[in-house]
């Protein structure tokens, strides 16, 4: 915030921890922009910190401080898909709709994630940049709904390629008497696209 003070920015500054909740009256803002901040709530910096709780506290207080129909956009650097899921789950729990928009999904360098949230009304997600080169068929968007289908699909089976699915497959092959690598902390870890 020292940079902002030096530059004599119009507007105002507050010092706070977003995981403690936003200290605003209801319905104050029409929009919210966040750049490279939200992912830090996924780390527990203190023993007393619970990331899901802090994320929920942030999203629920944000939701109440936004006017109906307001939008919030977060440019984030998620470490892995678990973090992404944790974030979106708490946002949905707080009442937001929306989804993820990805710019240049096929470029590990240029790839940018934008969590786009709508308060009170459903909105149309913007199109991610770099969508012309979708030769690998990677989608730019993931709209989340109220349904929680990430753990199993309709037949009750684990979603393909998820950690659950991989663990089950390994167990299945062990039962078949096949040679299977021992499980380590790296098992089913998410790999980058170039892997």
């Amino acid at each position: 915030h020292y940079v902002a003070l030096q530059r004599d920015v119009e507007g105002d500054l507050l010092l706070g921890d977003m995981g403690e909740g936003l200290p605003f009256r209801p319905g104050m803002f029409d929009g919210c922009i966040s750049i490279s901040a939200l992912q830090w709530l996924c780390n527990a910096d203190k023993k007393t910190h619970s990331p899901p709780k802090r994320l929920y506290r942030f999203f629920s207080t944000l939701y109440s401080s936004l006017a109906r129909g307001a939008r919030a956009v977060f440019q984030i650097y998620p470490e892995n898909s678990e973090q992404l899921e944790l974030i979106t789950a708490q946002a949905m729990k707080a009442g937001f709709t929306g989804g993820m928009v990805v710019d240049f999904p096929n470029s590990s360098k240029a790839k940018k994630f934008f969590l786009c949230l709508f308060a009170g009304v459903s909105g149309v997600l913007p199109k991610g940049l770099g969508s012309e080169s979708t030769d690998r068929g990677v989608s730019n968007q993931a709209q989340f709904t109220a349904q929680r289908s990430r753990f199993t699909n309709m037949k009750g089976k684990s979603v393909k390629k998820s950690k659950d699915w991989i663990m089950e497959k390994k167990e299945r092959r062990r039962r078949q008497g096949k040679d299977v690598r021992a499980d380590t902390k790296y098992t089913a870890r998410h790999r980058k696209p170039r892997f």
């Binding site: 915030h1 010092l15 200290p23 605003f24 009256r25």
Partner: protein, 122 residues
Amino acid sequence: MKLLTHNMLTSHVKGVIKGYPLIIKATEVKVNELEFNGQFVSRMIPKLEWSALIQAAGWLGQSQDLPSTLIPDYENDEEFLRKVHRILLEVEVIEGCLQCPESGREFPISKGVPNMLLNEDE
């Protein structure tokens, strides 16, 4: 901290029900000059808790004959809008603190920035 911000702030200490408005205890106040934008002021007025604004202006000694209730048809009253512009955006608390009206908890203001960080037990 500007009074526009103060008007939006509430105490977010857990368990507090009536954390608004925060009581201003100022030891240093500054008045800056900021370009007047009548449209901006006009649009912000409906979002304000007017009585809290008047009360805050009083604490800072900046009441300056602002009416205790909003006047009708303020959108076209430039003199009025300029007064509101001044109190919302030009008056700034540089040093002091904000006190929660319910719990008495104080949030310090230093170099114009209120510190809203909570303690472990809050």
